[in-house]
Symmetry: C2
Subunit: 328 residues, 2 copies
């Protein structure tokens, strides 16, 4: 590959340094993956096979929920509890709603700084780039890196809203949905199919008024909806992340869910589904690239797009024709 020549570090060298535990190499790899392109591909190609579900634990937990739910505080508390148990932790904070590393993430990084002296914890933020697809791929690559670096527990926090979150949560083995009492409960829970994909519900700030009601509401909704995994009883856990209360029980529930995934064979099913979603997204990105860069892109395809713009050709017919041409 071109990306392996003419550079100070090759993808294989960097992959090897990441596997051997170099934090510096991990950070550099994260930058490659975030930038995308050939170097990101070469790096993931090189370490993907060693970024497996190893023993004792290489588990990816997605943590999402409404703004103001205290997700970052919860992530920091979970990381501290995991460290207390001797589990190494990688944290990836993904913000699809902002092209900048936003206020929430930066502010909460400060709160996490007490973790930052611990070599067993690695923290990285990723903000939105050009396309959501790019961010999803960067996040998937970032998770590969953390797993290859031997992090046993990978926590992926998203602060986005809507379909973005659902897409990003597809990279997780276990999804934790965080609610808070009295924040327009119906609204925060009904969002974008998030409720359905939750494996564990957390009601944070559980010392606030209305916490009991929020828990009851979630339980009632769980009773109404068929679980996406019929063999798993979705727990609803009260937590006060700021004081660390309920955090040990949450980590226990995550461990129980990981065990459940393994015992039932659901782990393999999820890994398969994650692989399919990722490959299809990659293939789609490659299609868009190749349509734009195709040899005849300056001629036939461009003329077809002109005709669509002038309303002489339907976009469906044009899309079918473009694909036919690619296949020919």
């Amino acid at each position: 590959l071109d990306s392996k020549t003419g550079l100070d570090t090759s993808a294989d060298e960097l992959a090897s340094a990441i596997r051997s535990g170099s934090t510096r190499a991990l950070s550099r790899g994260m930058s490659w993956v975030e930038a995308g392109g050939d170097r990101a591909q070469a790096l993931v190609d090189s370490l993907y096979s060693t970024a497996g579900v190893g023993e004792p634990w290489a588990h990816v937990v997605g943590i999402t929920g409404t703004a103001g739910a205290g997700k970052s505080t919860l992530v920091a508390a979970l990381a501290k509890e995991a460290r207390r148990r001797g589990i190494s932790v990688g944290i990836l904070a993904v913000d699809p709603s902002s092209p900048f590393t936003g206020g929430a993430i930066l502010g909460d990084r400060v709160r996490m700084s007490e973790l930052s002296g611990d070599p067993g914890v690695y923290i990285r933020s990723m903000a939105a780039r050009g396309e959501l697809g790019g961010l999803c791929q960067a996040a998937s690559g970032g998770i590969d890196l953390l797993r290859a670096a031997g992090k046993q527990l990978v926590l992926v926090e998203t602060v986005g809203v809507g379909q973005d979150e659902v897409d990003i949560m597809r990279v997780a083995h276990t999804t934790v949905l965080v609610s808070v009492p009295g924040l327009g409960d119906d609204v925060q829970m009904l969002k974008a199919g998030l409720f359905e994909i939750a494996d564990i519900h957390v009601v944070n700030k559980a010392d606030r008024e209305g916490a009991g009601e929020t828990i009851s509401q979630i339980q009632a909704m769980l009773a109404l909806n068929a679980n996406h995994d019929a063999r798993w009883q979705t727990p609803v856990l009260p937590v006060i992340a700021l004081r660390g209360e309920g955090v040990a029980a949450l980590l226990d529930a995550i461990a129980a869910h990981a065990q459940h995934l393994r015992d039932t064979g659901e782990l393999g099913i999820r890994e398969r589904r994650m692989a399919e979603a990722r490959v299809i997204k990659l293939a789609q990105t490659m299609i868009a690239d190749s349509l734009r860069r195709h040899p005849d892109a300056q001629t036939t395809s461009q003329q077809d797009l002109d005709r669509v713009a002038r309303r002489e050709l339907s976009p469906y017919v044009c899309a079918r024709t473009l694909l036919e041409r690619l296949r020919a």
Copy 2:
């Protein structure tokens, strides 16, 4: 096409009824388009060429902004002003953040009900379905239908947040970004590249404290950033949508932007960009479908995906192989 036989109404018949102005046919077409699939394709294929930028006006305006900015009230006020000028109006309210037709949209539909007796106004909501791509395509199809039905002004309102909105706004000729005073101004403006794509800024609820500051802030940011269309001076308009104040000036600004797009040739450039984005999205959806339904989907491709899930094969290599196979 299969979809044209064995149904009570063919796509061509429905397209013809929509063109002749039947509201009933338009609503039925909207349901087809929202459901997607072969019928949606056949309908769009049939009426796409008659859904052009006609005279005097077939202009698509995207209206977006933070929650609580009063977008729906603004849309209703704009529609009323347009009707006063004898312009027919189609309204499409798109909510990517909820799989349900959510509270905000339903609540504001009530406020719009004074418009509902007017045959010159057509109002339709679309909520999130399985995939964002599907909603974008449904919205594009819905706009085609409204244009084919002869609506001169099409208002597309989104209540989503983040990348969703940016994607949906790609269907508009003119994008209006709505802010309000004192709602954490920095946050609402810096979101997800929305600021950059705005052709017109509105500060709604301009009788509130801090309105002047919000307007100044937006003007300062506009001065700092290069405009995405160097020949257009982006206006910042104070509006009180609830009382109709400033709404006539907003419609004037929209008309001026439409004229600007025509005079400078930017209209053709935008139509072309919209066509390309739409065709690429369609082609990507078709790729995903064909990977799932491909003749050898049960064999080679599935085995490759299994290997990705077992971490024996990199997702990039798998995606490239799948595309090679499609092309072979």
